[in-house]
């Protein structure tokens, strides 16, 4: 019963702060609202009994990626005055593009597999033991491939960071 109310509260908060991200004039405020949004989503994970996912979500997104975002934005010194005026065509194309993205998302979600009934849903699936077993047994290859992706990104970063390559 409490979880239902908590779900609605968190859902409301995440949508509200998600909108604030878009509508905030100051980019630093946007980033901070986004951090709060991540927190509310982590709260949703906890409600789903997936503490591991919640913790990793906080560590990776709020703790690392958003800090880097904040880092870059603080250095850019973005002001309302220096912001270039967007033309009408740009705004129109942005609206159409994001609208198309929405359509694609809705379409793909509509045809996604049926959600199991809450009664026979395994609530312990999000715990770290079960998650680890699933990842390293059923999805070992995709898991390792994704690590190669990260390695490639790291090598690329090192290459870019080098001043001169002999």
């Amino acid at each position: 019963m409490i979880t239902t109310y908590l779900f609605y509260l968190l859902a409301f908060l995440s949508i509200m702060f998600g909108l604030m991200v878009v509508f905030a004039k100051n980019p630093v405020h946007s980033v901070l609202y986004l951090v709060i949004t991540f927190f509310t989503i982590a709260g949703q994970y906890v409600l789903l009994n997936a503490q591991f996912l919640a913790a990793v979500h906080i560590i990776v997104y709020a703790g690392a990626i958003m800090v880097l975002f904040l880092f870059v934005i603080m250095l850019l010194n973005l002001n309302k005055e220096t912001e270039p005026h967007k033309s009408l065509w740009l705004k129109l194309s942005a609206t159409i593009a994001s609208g198309l993205l929405l359509v694609v998302l809705v379409g793909s979600l509509k045809n996604a597999g049926t959600i199991p009934h809450p009664a026979n849903f395994n609530t312990n699936i999000g715990l770290i033991e079960n998650l680890g077993k699933t990842l390293f047994n059923d999805f070992l290859l995709p898991f390792e491939v994704s690590s190669i992706l990260l390695l490639a990104a790291m090598v690329g970063a090192v290459m870019l960071g080098k001043k001169s390559i002999k």
Binding site: I58, I59, A62, G63, A64, V67, M74, L75, I128
Partner: protein, 348 residues
């Protein structure tokens, strides 16, 4: 969960909170005294006998000072900054096991606020959020020194979090659990993790120094270059919050180091003399605090011994030495754990 248990939890949370604040308060006094003694001075000795009331005087001073908010600052974030710093500092104490469970009237009362099954990750997550307070405060001050301090703090914390995380992973591999209560309980007597993970401990403690922004890694508030770093513009109790958060972080880091690597509340040979679990719990609490005090002393001892790093040296140490070392530690740990399989593979 009965009502009595809930009340117990609330009281326990309040006690831990009070102890945290008290220890942090007296850490400021201890820091000044230890600094003085290491430099052949006496230190504060005017307020009360041996200056024991000095923290009180400091607190009164902090509260009485004029509070200034720069007119060009972002007022809201300027106030939130130190608050976030303090919040994240206080949040970490939740998962630390302060002693073995007590048994009163047939009911078990654990001396831990909550034993999360992802305790280590929770700790790590909260620590990684600690940088927000500094960044928000530094940016909102609208001062170049504050901003530079904030940026230094965040890049330093991100860099050292990686090595810290990898050293924790090696530890978690040996313990096989992410719950701090379990980690502490798995180190009875002298079976401390520091003997299993000496390299991991070294990396962890270095990273702990960097994460708490303590010397020799106190680059963010490096006064020779950056005036006061991220708290240049702060005054009164908001400055007090920033300074206080540092001491709370130091206390919690000491507690975490004790729990992870030095057996937490365990002490060798104690089980032979004391059999009553309640007395064991009380003694465990005392032992843990002895260990914590020792590590707080080490924090201060290092601060008044080692000179500050240069910024490029800091980054070199973090990325080029500590991360490879921690990965090596991880590989060695993994290899040791899989030794029978590896031997089997080669012998066959």
């Amino acid at each position: 969960m009965t009502l009595g248990f809930l009340i117990y939890k609330i009281i326990f949370v309040l006690i831990i909170f009070a102890i945290t604040l008290l220890v942090a308060t007296y850490s400021t006094y201890a820091e000044r005294k230890i600094a003085a003694f290491l430099q052949d001075r006496i230190g504060p000795d005017r307020a009360g006998p041996f200056g024991i009331l000095q923290p009180l005087a400091d607190a009164v001073k902090m509260f009485m000072k004029e509070e200034m908010i720069p007119s060009v600052s972002n007022r809201m974030l300027f106030i939130i900054g130190p608050g976030v710093c303090m919040l994240t500092a206080c949040m970490t104490g939740v998962v630390i096991p302060w002693g073995p469970a007590m048994n009163i009237g047939g009911k078990v009362y654990p001396l831990q606020i909550t034993d999360l099954n992802i305790g280590v990750l929770y700790l790590f997550g909260v620590v990684s959020l600690g940088v927000y307070g500094i960044m928000i405060g530094g940016w909102a001050s609208n001062n170049k020194f504050s901003l530079l301090g904030a940026i230094r703090a965040s890049s330093q914390m991100i860099s050292y979090e990686v090595a810290m995380g990898i050293s924790i992973i090696a530890l978690v591999m040996t313990t096989g659990t992410l719950s701090l209560g379990q980690i502490a309980a798995d180190q009875p007597g002298m079976h401390w993790n520091v003997f299993i993970q000496p390299l991991g401990f070294l990396i962890f403690i270095i990273c702990a120094f960097a994460e708490t922004n303590r010397a020799p890694f106190d680059l963010p508030e490096c006064e020779t270059e950056l005036v006061g770093g991220y708290h240049t513009e702060y005054s009164s109790m908001k400055l007090g919050f920033f300074l206080f958060a540092e001491y709370i972080n130091m206390f919690i880091s000491s507690a975490v180091i004790s729990t992870f690597y030095f057996g937490g509340y365990n002490m060798p040979f104690i089980a032979r003399f004391v059999h009553d679990p309640n007395w064991l719990a009380v003694l465990g609490f005392v032992f843990l605090f002895t260990k914590i005090s020792f590590f707080i002393f080490v924090f201060m001892w290092v601060r008044w011994t080692l000179p500050r790093f240069r910024y490029d040296q800091l980054m070199n140490l973090g990325w080029k030495i500590l991360i490879p070392l921690s990965i090596l530690n991880l590989l060695i740990t993994g290899g040791w754990m899989m030794r029978s399989e590896i031997l089997h593979f080669f012998i066959k």
